[in-house]
Each structure stands twice: as C-alpha cells, then as structure tokens.
Amino acid sequence: MKKVLSLFLLISTQLGAQTKADDVKTFTLKNGMKFLVLEDASIPNANMYLFYKVGSRNEHPGITGLSHFFEHMMFNGAKKYGPKQFDQVMEYNGGSNNAYTTNDVTVYTNWFPASSMEVIFDLEADRISSLSIDSVMVQSERGVVISERSTGLENSPWRLLSENIEATSFQEGAYHWPVIGYEPDIKNWTKEDLEYYFRTYYAPNNCVVVMSGAIKFDAVKAMAEKYLERIPAQPAPKPVHLLETPQTGERRITVQKDVSAPYLGIGYRVPNAKSDDYFALDILSSILTNGNSSRLYSALVDKKQLASNIFTSFSATFDENLFGILASTNRGKKAEDLEKAIYEELEKIRKDGITANELQKVKNQKLIEFYNQIETINGKSNNIGTYEVFFGDYRRMFDAPALYNKVTVDDIKRVANQYFKKSTRTVGIVETNVED
C-alpha cells in the first residue's frame, strides 16, 4: 500500500487514481457473508468492521430506537463468552471496540494487534451465532441508553434542532423518528422484540465485513471459514415499506430551549446515495460551507456577521434524505434575517451558478479529504465498507474521483435549482422565547 500511494505525487489531480480497486480482495462465505480485505502492514495492528444492513429505518413506532439498543446488547453476552466477557477478552488481548447505529446501518468496529486476530474471530462468531439476551442486562442497558439519549440532548442544541427538522420533513417514512428512539419505547420493548430483531437482521447474509491492517488475505479467509461459515443464512428481511411521500409545501417547526442565541436549520429534500446527483450535491455542500472562503461562511459569518457558525449536513443514505444547512445566530441578530440571507445566497447560485474556480477549489479539497481518509487503516476500512453498503460496490470508492471530476458548473446550478425549493424545505428554530 505504501509504495502504491506514494505515486500520488506524480499525478496529484486525479483523486485516488493510483489506489487500485484490485488492492481490495474479496470473498463470500457459503452463508452469504461477504468479506473485503486490504493488506496494509504500516502498523502492526488490524481492524474488523462489520456493517449490518439494519438501522432505525427498519423500526416502526413502538420499537423506535431498537436497532441502536440492539447495538448495545451485542456486547452483553453470548453462549461461549458470557456477560462482560466480550470486552474483557478483547481488552485482555490488546484490542478495543466501539459501534454505531444510523438510520440505515449498524456498524461494529474492532481494533486489535494483528497477532490477536483469531480471538476477534472467535468473539464475533460467538455473538453472531448465539447471542443470549439476558433480562437483567436488558434492564440495566435501558438506563445506559436513556442516559445516552439525555446527555446528547443536554449538551447539544444541534441535536434537538435536527431531530425536530427530520421529524417534521419526514412524516410517513422511517426517517421520521430519531435513531436513538423515543424514551417510552426505550422503556417498553420486550425480550421477544429483541429476539425477533436478532433472528431477522443479524444474519451472516445481511452483513459485510471489512478488514484492513497487518493481516494476510489467506489467513483471514481461513479463519472466516473456520469460525463464521457454519452460521446459517436467514431469509432476506422484508423490505422497508414505510417510504416517504413527496413534500409539497414549506414546513416550519419551533422548539423552546434556553439558548444564548437562536439556532436555525433548513432541510431540503434530496435523493438517496445511488442518485446520479449525489456527487454534485456533495460538491455543492462544500461550495456552501467548506472553509472560510465558502459561500455561506464568507457571506453570513464574515461579511454580514449574522451567524456565529454555519455548516451543511449531507450524507449517503438508503432513502430520500435531507440536505441540511445549520447555523447559530450571532449575538444581537435575528434568526429571520439570517434565514433570509441564506436564501439570498442560495438564490445567487440558482440564478448565476458558481465559478469554474470555485468548482476546482472543491475538487482540490476532495483530494486532501481522500488522503486524510486513507492515512489510517481505520479510515480505509470505514470507507471501503461505506461505499460497498451505500453505493452497492466498494469499487465505487475508486470511481469516485472520476465522478467528482465529471461534475460541471452547470450541474451545480442545475441541482441547486432542482433541490433548493421552498416547497420541499423544512425550517426549524430552537430559541429561548417562543410565542405563547
């Protein structure tokens, strides 16, 4: 890996051109569990990222937050390694772990000295094949998750803001509820709900495993066959049927919280990651807020000083999503003036487009972003897995440079006109004083 990447020096404008898709080797077990392996001995460590295609979109009211709760339960004991032992054994062997849940996926991450690889396979095989859902552990884990939910809201108005915008824009679809779930649901789901979830979604054929580090492909394959192949496949989960209906008019939401100045968010409906417009929208997101010379930062924070912070949020998702513009109002300024000024900037792009220089700037920034992502073995695994799961093929990661480069100034103008519409936007405000 090391040698291949240094060739970037020679042709630096072709993002990722020298990292070959062939460096990633792949195999699929008989039970449908797919592995992507990247050998990289730059540090004596390795990782294992397991992407399960289950997230809060697979839930329904009554069990909201269950995917995330399940993520916690995966650490609470199985047949061979009982409660606490997953972490104890992993840490004893020099490893550590974490996990995260989104609307779409649940991802488990193990980091370990390469010499401990077999223990990691054993631990994973145990919990995937025979998790035990202990009622006492379920009860104490409810407290942990309620604390996680509460501390997120306690320490960040942004979270309160985005949850409310999502809940207002998405009404029938499965992005309506937050990933962490509603507190009453957290307190009420049953052991049977968890068991159903495990059977349905934690099947080897619903999982993609990515490993990078000082490991050998053949050894990985042998261990995967030894530890994981015996786990039976399950019928594919029922497709999610709660899809969002089109938004046909502006929606607004106000939330009271004691804040120093109002927080404002605007979410526009945009298509999912497989849309042809994904790369143009991603570039538009950078045009708007990446760096102090970006459109919105420069106009609203620097010149007009209406905002003290501004950023966009746009990410790859399975279903139709929101393109978010989030800002905190500067001291003594009004949220309505800030909102109006944001629309003025968006209108400029809708009307006049962007310059070739601006587009080139973002393409240059994307190159550095790419280097940052592949500088660590963890960045490599996370990216390979994300492309595989969200774009349908890890090879897309290697096509991404070309896809970014293909985007033109006209594309940016076109997507700005197509998606930044009043009728498909949802505006949220968190402020201290709301009207009675």
Binding site: S42, I43, E91, T151, S298, I368, I377
Partner: protein, 466 residues
C-alpha cells in the same frame, strides 16, 4: 454509539513508528532530525511518505498562563494571526489556502500557543510561505479583530449551554486557585469584551519569539531540502526575551473537601467531576500511572465504567484521567447521570475509588491493562499529524525518544506491588474536590454531603477564587 470513551493517550505524546515498528516488535520512533536555528527556533523534521501530504505543528510560549488579568488574550492573539499578514488580507489568505485544500489553524491552549497546518506536499512552498507570514508579519487589523472577538464571545456564551463544555474550566479554577493554571483557556465574556487589537499586538511581540518555540514537520518531503527551506523562511524571525515562566509557582494542595455547585436550572442531568491534585508531565511514573489508570477508569471494562454503567445503568459512560501540564497536574473522575440518580452515582464513584485503595489490582487485571495499553498505541501514532504533535510535545515538555523507545519495557516492568505504590502515591483519598453542574434546586442538599459548597450560576461570567 456504544461509548465515547476518553482517549487518555491524547495527552501521552507517545509514538510508535509506522515504519520501524511493524516487524521488529520493539517500539522505536522513526528517524527525525532536530536543528536549532541561530535565532533559537527548534526545528524537527521527520519523513513519512505514505500519502503525499505534509503536516506542520508549531508551539510557542504564548498560552493562557500569560494572560495576566486579560483572560482570553492568548486565544484572541492566536485567532488574530489568521486575520491578515503584511502580504495578504484575511480573505485573500483564506482563498489561497482553501483553493488548494490546505488548512492552517492557530490556537492557544493553557500553556502554549500552537499552529497546525496540513497540505499536499506539492503545495509546500505556497503554504510554508503563508505560515511564515502568519507567524512573522501578522497585521492585527482592528476591524477583523473585532469580528473575531464577537465570534469568540458568541462561542463562550454557547459553551454555557453544554455542561460538558464548561466543566473543565470550573475544575481548573477549583484545583489551581490563584495559580496561572486556573486561567480559562478561552477567557471570559467580561474580559474578552475589553480586549483590543493593540493588546494582541503587544502580546504577540512579547510571546511569539523563535527562541522558546519549535516547528515540527512530518510527511512527504526531503529532509535536506526542507531544512534549507525552513532556514530561509524562519531565519529572519527576530529573537526575543523568553517570557517569565509564571507557572512554576507551587500549587497549593487542597486542605478540605470542597464542592463547586454550578446551577443550570434547565438541566435534566448532573454532570460531575471528582478529583484532586495530579502530577506534572515530567513525573517519572508516567507509564505506570497510565497502566494503573487503564484499570481504574481508562477503558470500557475499567472499574468506574463497569460499576457506573454496566452494573447499574446509572450513566452512559464514566472515566478517569490524569491531566499533566509542565509544572503541575490534576486527576479527575468524570461522568454524568439523570438528576434523580445524582447521589447514587456520586457515592458509587467514591466507592470505586475507595476500592482501588483497599483492594488493589490483581495480576490478571494488571496483565490485561498492560496488553491493552501496548496494543492500543500504534494506531494513536499512525498519522503525520499525530507524529508532528508528538515532536512538539517532546520540545515543550522536555522529553526525548528514550521515553518512547523504552515505553514497552516500562509497561512490562510494572508489578502488582509497584501498582499498589502508584495507587497510594497518586490517587487522592481525602479532601476530594467536586464540581457538580446541574439543577441546584434538586441537588443542593446532596452537594453538602461531600464538602463545603460554593454555588454559582452557569450564566455567571466567572466563579469566585478559592
């Protein structure tokens, strides 16, 4: 997320080479070159060619400890560096850097100021030229200064919305009293409001000097060529008088248990720290303390997290850490819980601390912690940014690669008996210091159980001196 565990090794400044380490099994820092220019500027150069980028890290004796009564001056001076140079206005500077995807950030921390930059190696001439201008010829434009100031004030006010963002400042106030280590890194609204561009210019002149500063570059370059380039860029930086070190005054240890209760009337949880005095960065037991702390509060299966999260479900996470500055340090246990569980969580944390003193650590647990510490190190020193940060830490705290090259040995040598000594020597037992941020109405009586209570409001500009 399963957990957002504190990366206690961020303070550790240890590195294992991406290249040397892989096969040999012994920890060695990759080769680097250290040079001192005639004006006293120390330069570290370490080649790493995995990606075609370079990371720069600079450290200057210009942190908040030099603020005197003007809290926030160090932070404002650092931000103002980026608001224009003799050759470029702020917007020109930002356009130039953004266009090539480069980042340059200046900031002040408690003891020092820092500048970090990351860029494609092909852009090194342009970016290093800008870094030179930012450090040597900042203009401190008044209009830009006022804009930065307004942003800092907005940030200080927003921070008060989040207990997690402010609790550390309160703890430093309580721990360090009248010592300069109590100075809040980003200042206070009342003091920042009064700062002027002239104040920053004066602070810049006295504290941004080559002698007493270091610049480290790690990444894709040729050492010999880079050395020549840096000499020509920074050789003209005029030598100054190293500012009087205000931090080597003794810190008074606490003589009684104290509680600082910070009222946040809309809080639904109590965020708290239980702590006491720690040690400076130079303490020889550094590695042993990190291993012991791994057991107590430094990882997921640590005793604190096990008891407060896994066994009782009182919190999403609990941890402990030593924070080490050049001349002193602190120890803290940090966690949070729903308001109604405040007393249970605090009592439990104290119970676990007592257990550490009475029960001690057995052989198996110690082995596990040693393996964990060793196994977790390489990824923390994998990138050029991590390595550049290490080199400036070596400069600032005065340690060298022997610390790194002996790290594994020091971990392995720790015995159960020595671990016991570490606990007795460094973990506070009496006169604990408490910060509680929460709804005072609901937790005032509980607070009184732990020591003499002082109550402030989170919206207050500053707390009393202790």
């Amino acid at each position: 997320m399963k957990h957002f565990f504190r990366y206690f090794f961020l303070l550790l400044g240890v590195c294992f080479s991406a290249t040397v380490f892989a096969q040999s099994g012994t920890f060695k820092l990759p080769a680097y070159e250290k040079t001192v220019l005639k004006n006293g500027l120390t330069i570290y150069l370490m080649e790493q060619h995995e990606v075609p980028t370079i990371t720069l890290s600079a450290v200057m004796p210009a942190g908040a400890i030099y603020d005197k009564t003007q809290n926030g001056l160090a932070t404002m001076t650092a931000s103002a560096l980026m608001t224009g140079t003799a050759r470029m206005t702020k917007s020109k500077l930002e356009e130039e850097l953004d266009f090539i995807g480069a980042s340059v950030d200046a900031y002040a921390s408690k003891e020092s100021a820092g500048l970090s930059a990351r860029f494609a190696s092909k852009d090194r001439d342009k970016v290093l030229g800008i870094v030179r201008d930012v450090l040597l010829t900042p203009t401190f434009d008044e209009k830009e200064f006022e804009k930065e100031k307004a942003l800092l004030i907005a940030g200080l006010e927003q921070a008060k919305e989040s207990p997690r963002n402010v609790i550390g400042n309160y703890f430093d106030q309580l721990s360090y009293g009248s010592h300069v280590y109590a100075n809040p890194e980003s200042g206070k609204v009342s003091t920042v409001t009064k700062l002027t561009a002239a104040d920053a210019r004066r602070f810049y002149r006295s504290n941004y000097i080559p002698n007493g500063s270091a610049i480290a570059l790690v990444g894709d370059f040729n050492t010999r060529e880079m050395k020549v380039k840096l000499e020509s860029l920074f050789g003209a930086w005029v030598k100054g008088t190293v500012p009087t070190n205000l931090a080597n005054a003794a810190v008074q240890p606490p003589t009684s248990a104290k509680v600082l209760l910070v009222n946040k009337s809309d809080a639904k949880e109590t965020t708290f720290i239980i702590g006491g005095p720690g040690v400076p960065r130079s303490n020889p037991d550094y590695v042993a303390m990190e291993v012991v702390n791994t057991v107590f509060g430094g990882r997921f299966t640590s005793w604190l997290n096990d008891e407060l999260r896994v066994n009782t479900g009182l919190t999403y996470g609990a941890n402990s850490s030593f924070s080490r500055l050049k001349h002193a340090g602190t120890f803290r246990i940090s966690t949070f819980t729903a308001t109604k569980n405040t007393e249970a969580a605090m009592d439990t944390a104290i119970k676990v601390l007592n257990k550490l003193h009475t029960t001690g650590i057995d052989e198996k647990t110690l082995t596990s912690a040693k393996n964990y510490v060793k196994g977790g190190l390489p990824p923390r020193y994998e990138t050029s940014g991590q390595l550049a940060g290490l080199l400036t830490s070596m400069f600032w705290y005065g340690f060298d690669e022997s610390f790194i090259n002996n790290f594994q040995k020091n971990v392995d040598e720790l015995t159960v008996a020595k671990a016991k000594e570490i606990v007795q020597k460094y973990y506070p037992k009496n006169n604990l210091q408490f910060i509680m941020v929460g709804n005072a109405e609901a937790i005032r009586k509980i607070a009184a159980k732990y020591g003499t209570v002082t109550e402030v409001n989170i919206k207050d500009d500053s707390v009393k001196t202790f």
